[in-house]
Structures are given as C-alpha cells and as structure tokens.
C-alpha cells in the first residue's frame, strides 16, 4: 500500500539497524512516548533489531491507559442512566472501572454506541433530540481538535441534549513530570509524531534544555521508529540534547494552527489525574467558560469519589518506565486482556497488552529467522 509499505521495507530497516549498531558505544535508555509507537515496536519486533544495551522504555502515551479509574466510573454511571445514549471510541468500551466496564453496561441494557468521530456523536444528538447524548472525550492533543469541533458544532446548532465527559490529556507536562521524578531512567525521548502534527514542537526545546535530553519527533512506522532511535542515539553519543524532527512528512514546527486555535477556543488547561501516575499540574483539557453547558460532569451532577487501583497492578510503574510489563507479578496470570487488572492490559496500545499479545512466550523465534 502506498505511503505505508515504503516505511516497512525489510532491507532498509536492517540498514538503519546496522547503523544504530555502528554508532552505539554505550548503554542508553530511550522512551517512546506514544502507545502507537509501543505497539509498532512490539508488533514488528523493532527492539529485536537493536543493540542489546539500547533499552526502549514504554511511555505513558496511551490515552485509554491513563484515563483515571474515577473517570471510567463516571462514564459507567452516565451510560447506565435511562434515556442516555453514551458514545465512545471503540477501545474505551473494554476498560474496567472499579466495578464493571461499558460493554457490560451495554449488555445490561445501556445504550452504548461506538463512534469513529466525535462529530458522529453530534449527529446522533441531532437525530435524538428527546434523549441525552454524551460523548466520552478521551485522548491526547491528536484527538483534541476533533473533540473541540464537536463541541463547537453542537453550540452552533444550539443542541442542548449533547454533552461530553472530558478526560483529555497533554504530552509535554507528562514528559516534565517524568523527568522530574527521582526514579527517572530516561536519557532520550521519541516524541509522539501525531501529537506534534497538531501542536508542532515549539514546546520541546525548553524541556530538552532543562533536562539535557534529546527529543526526536518520530512517526509510527518501523522505519520512522528506527530512524528516530538512530537520531536519538547519535545525539546521545555526541553529547547533544536537541529537538529534532524525524517525521517531517507530517510535522511542521508550528503544527496545525487552525486546529490549535479551535482547541484554545473550546478548552482551557486544567490539572488532570493520570491513571497509574497521579495528578500532573496543567496536564489536561477541560471545557472553557463559554462551553461549560456541554460538560457532562456538571449536567449529570456527578459526585467526586476516590477509587484505589487494584493493589496487584503495577501499571503505574509500567507507565513510568520503571518496569517492563512482564516484570509485573500479575502479568499473564492474574492479569490478561480477558481479565485485565489495569488499563495497560486493555487497550491495544497499552504496553502490557502489546507484550501479552506478541511476547507472551519468550522463545518466539521462527524457522524463517534461521
């Protein structure tokens, strides 16, 4: 397929891998921020091509994984109410709250629907004026413009039966929080290409300078990731800590400015709790004053309650790169994609799910590899 197969070329991948071997002289820990990158690394076996002393640490960039338990519980509470049509992206449906998940609410009669775009939820609201339609707005800067557009359009259309449960999060504050942690082992970052396609990368030079880490804006295909790693290692080996852009075919320094304007119009920056990590200041988006009428938390008068993660689940340490998924004692035993303890085992982009799907047996060599 055009624009895809070129970036999965086996010979080119081997070439870049050889170059990484050539330039690497010492151990380095590199974090890929985005869950999409983690998924590609494990699915294509990219880490198998790397020198042994380059360690990839899987970052917190899976929006499904970092949505706090309390927020999932709020979603479950709204979705179970009679008269509500609860709309969500597909992979939020299986994420367990403290008692159940959206798929189970649906099985018990809740009207829970998968949408592919927040704008589809607006359409559903227009077609069902007698019912309350709620969209579960989850994601990073990548999906924020689409969520913002849905709110904007609902306001333009004067829809009063549409609202959003919002759990949008922002990447740079999470990087700042990670780097400020005393346990941080990360020496270089692959920044999430899609986030930067929207936001650009002007937020990163201060982070790179303050923490003396190279940050390479990186795409999602195997060759993108290998090239991103190479650029990162080259910086580390030569003692540089700069922001570079590997994903030039999609990312410009200033990003997508109309999208940013829309996000600024509809949202304001708020503190946000990240599942497994805790609250990070100024790391989320909430509706701005002009659009609070679309805030489902207000509309349904939901009460705050605190819930604790299952004690057996170490997803917080996984999300912060302190352990690999298979180093968690619950991995593959108490915790599987069918019976997940934490969200990192649920989402297809979650590090635990990726390891479970592709790495469960350590000896996954094939006859072809020889």
């Amino acid at each position: 397929m055009k624009f895809l197969d070129e970036y999965r070329d086996g010979d080119l991948a081997q070439q870049i891998a050889r170059e990484i071997h050539r330039v690497t002289t010492q151990p380095w820990n590199i974090m890929e921020v985005c869950g999409g990158q983690t998924h590609a690394i494990v699915k294509f076996g990219i880490d198998e091509l790397l020198p042994k002393h380059i360690t990839l640490i899987h970052g917190p960039g899976c929006p499904v994984c970092v949505t706090p338990l309390e927020m999932i519980d709020k979603a479950l509470e709204i979705a179970a109410r009679p008269g509500v049509i609860f709309t969500s992206f597909g992979d939020m449906l299986r994420v367990p709250g403290s008692t159940t998940d959206l798929l189970s609410v649906k099985a018990r009669g809740g009207d829970v629907r998968i949408v592919y775009s927040p704008l589809d939820a607006v359409k559903i609201a227009e077609q069902n004026l007698a019912r309350e339609v709620v969209f579960f707005g989850v994601g990073f800067e990548t999906t924020a413009p689409a969520t913002a557009m849905a709110v904007f359009q609902a306001a333009q259309k004067g829809l009063t039966n549409f609202s959003m449960l919002i759990s949008h999060v922002l990447v740079p504050p999470a990087i700042e929080a990670l780097m400020s942690s005393p346990n941080c082992r990360v020496q270089g970052f692959l920044a999430a290409g899609h986030v930067c396609a929207i936001m650009g990368y002007e937020e990163y030079p201060p982070l790179a300078a303050k923490h003396r880490v190279p940050i390479v804006v990186t795409g999602f295909e195997p060759l993108d990731i290998l090239q991103g790693i190479l650029m990162c290692v080259q910086q580390l080996e030569s003692g540089r800590a700069e922001v570079e852009n590997q994903y030039v075919r999609a990312v410009r320094q200033q990003g997508n400015q109309p999208a940013q304007r829309l996000v600024r119009e509809v949202f304001r920056i708020v503190p946000r709790k990240w599942r497994g990590v805790g609250e990070i200041p100024a790391s989320g988006l909430g509706l701005s004053a002009a659009y609070v009428a679309f805030d489902a938390e207000r509309k349904f008068n939901l009460t705050e309650h605190r819930v604790d993660e299952p004690a057996d689940c170490l997803s917080g340490q996984v999300l912060q790169g302190q352990i690999k998924p298979h180093e968690c004692p619950a991995f593959g035993g108490k915790c599987t994609p069918e019976h997940p303890l934490g969200a990192t085992m649920v989402s297809s982009e979650g590090a635990c799910a990726a390891y479970y799907r592709y790495r469960r047996h350590s000896a996954a060599e094939t006859a072809f590899a020889k």
């Binding site: 197969d5 086996g10 294509f44 076996g45 982009e349 060599e365």
Partner: protein, 350 residues
C-alpha cells in the same frame, strides 16, 4: 460483483400480506401459505415435496459428516453477498473442511414480525441459487416468527449432512511437523465489508465480502492425491484464531510469514485506519490447509486453478512438536507471536 436481479428471475409469489405477521408462524392458514408459496416453491425437490415431518433419504456408503451454524448478520444484504447465500456457503464450507461432499441441508428461520415479505423472498431465492451452485438439497426446515423488537430481522440456522468419499484422515490433531500451511486467498474481506456497511464508513472502493463455496478446490486437492492433513475455514477470528486452534489441537509450533499473506489493498487500508489486524478479521470464503511439505507447491497450484482460491499462497510451516504456539515473521524480518484476538474487535482511538 453485480447484485442479483431478483425481480426479473424471481418474482415474489402473490401474497396477501406485504410484511411477515405473527400469524405467519402461528400454525394456521397464513403459515401454511408461507411454507407453500415461499419456502416450498423456492426449495422444491422430491424429498422436501413429500411434506413429511422429517426428511427421509438413503445415504451413500462411507463416513458421514454433519455440521450446524447459525447466521445473524446485519445488514441482511451486503456487498458481495447476503444472509441467505452465506447460510448455505458457510455450512457447505464446514462440510468441505473434512473433505465431505455436501448432500442435504436443513434450514430454520427465525423471522422478526414486520420483515418485508419481499426481503424474505430475496433471501430465500439467494439460498436456492447458492444451494444449486453447491449441489446440495434443502430437505427440511422450520419457521418461527418472533415479536417486533425481539429479533434482528431474520436469523437463519442451517445444518448440513455430507458424505466422506476419501480415505484421508483430515483432522486438526493430524497436523504433522514439516506440513506446509496454505491459505486459499486474500484475507479480511467479509469482516471489513460488513463493518464498512454497518458503521457507514466510506472508502474509495466498495469492499465486497468473499462469501463463496470452497468445495470445488477442496475436491480438486483430494482428487489430485494431495496429502491433506487438516483444513479449517477462516470465519470469525480470522487466520489467527484458526492457526492457534490447530496448534493447540495438535501440540505443534506453527511459523508463518507476513509478506506471504495476501491482503487486498483496500482491506489493508481500512484495517490500518481502524487499527484492526486483517489476520483477526472474518472471512466467508477462505480456508487454511495443512498438507505434507512435499505436496506444498502442487497443492497451491491446484488451488490457483479455481476462481475462489486463485490467490492461494504457501504462508508457512509446522516447525516442531512443542507447546502450542503460532509465530509470524514481520515485514522487517523480526518474529513475534500471532495470538488469537481477545473479545470483540474494537476500533482504536488514534
């Protein structure tokens, strides 16, 4: 594929009612009319025409194969097929997976009150045509009508009976080290065709379902003396589920290669967009065959002579007797586990 022109070849028999009523399942005159004018008329054959409570027939000598499947697809008509043809192909394909020649089918219909009679007739005509193509007779059946809102238009169950006329032992546990793994064509079309229609997703091209009978290429393999050890049709769960089930049943490790697995470009693009893996997506006219390694190329070439399996490929082999495991060599040459999908296939956020 051109949609069949039901009206020209298949006019709806004159009906007093334009929609199915509860009374059509109530055992009285209306039900009698429905059975005679719709099912009896379309499926007519000497066994069915006796109108006995049970079909009577003699069977040829040899082992018999029997299978059953229920069909609940929404929408009832989709690009490349419909619930009727699918209900015939699916069951006939299950028989073909043991190398059986299909003989007879039973058909049970659960109809939601209010289904347009025209729709039912189109489905029934499609079943009649598909059964004819597969050389199988529908010899008994049942009809129930359920209240509006208690069904999804139409559910169909078919049970198939076939005869095994070969001496091969075709079964999952018969897979052997050194066997070649062959798939009969490109993957993922049925699942993506349904998802595109159901969710209103628009791609540049229309993805049609691959729903089709695979009896002929299977018969050709057996006739040519190919040492077939196991076959499985790749329906829900796709190739990944089939390979894992077989690895489990036979206690072997199977290794396949991504680049050998054909996936049509539009299906590939749709899967990429939704974050789905074509190897997890359903098919309705594809199967995987495990044949003796020495027969691999010949088997592939025989399959390629049939339209339904024209894109057959050898995608891997059975590596060793070991803890059940399926591995796949990725496009960039690394290897990983190919696991069964867990639960429903859910599109990703981004």
């Amino acid at each position: 594929m051109k949609p069949p022109d039901f009206n020209a070849s298949c006019p709806l028999p004159i009906q007093q009612y334009s929609h199915v009523l509860m009374a059509h399942g109530g055992g009285g005159k209306l039900m009698h009319q429905l059975l005679e004018n719709v099912f009896g008329k379309a499926f007519s054959n000497p066994i069915l025409d006796t109108r006995h409570d049970s079909a009577q027939f003699t069977v040829p000598p040899g082992k018999l194969a029997m299978t059953t499947d229920s069909y609940v697809v929404r929408p009832l008509f989709f690009p490349g097929g419909d619930i009727g043809s699918m209900a015939i192909h699916g069951t006939v394909n299950d028989l073909a997976m043991s190398g059986a020649r299909p003989l007879y089918l039973s058909c049970a219909f659960i109809i939601e009150e209010g289904l347009p009679m025209e729709t039912l007739w189109r489905v029934v005509c499609s079943m009649r045509d598909a059964a004819q193509r597969c050389g199988v007779q529908i010899v008994t059946g049942d009809t129930k009508v359920v209240d509006k809102g208690k069904g999804d238009g139409l559910f169909i169950n078919t049970t198939g009976l076939g005869v095994i006329e070969h001496a091969l032992n075709i079964a999952p546990k018969n897979v052997q080290v050194g066997d070649a793994v062959i798939i009969s064509g490109d993957l993922g079309r049925h699942g993506m065709a349904i998802m595109a229609v159901r969710e209103g997703l628009q791609f540049e091209t229309t993805i049609e379902s691959d729903s089709a009978p695979v009896r002929e290429p299977v018969r050709a393999l057996i006739k040519a003396g190919i040492e077939v050890h196991c076959m499985r049709d790749l329906t829900r769960g796709g190739l990944a589920s089939a390979l894992n089930e077989i690895a489990e049943a036979s206690g072997v490790k199977i290794a396949v290669e991504q680049k050998m697995i054909p996936v049509r470009e539009d299906v590939h693009a749709a899967c990429e967009m939704l974050g789905l893996d074509p190897l997890h997506v359903a098919n309705e006219g594809r199967f995987v065959a495990f044949v003796a390694g020495t027969d691999a190329e010949r088997a592939r070439d025989i399959l390629r002579q049939h339209e339904v399996s024209a894109n057959a490929e050898i995608i891997g082999k059975v590596v060793e007797k070991a803890a059940p495991l399926v591995t796949i060599k990725s496009a960039i040459g690394a290897s990983r586990i190919l696991d069964m999908p867990s639960g429903e296939q859910l599109p990703r956020i981004c």
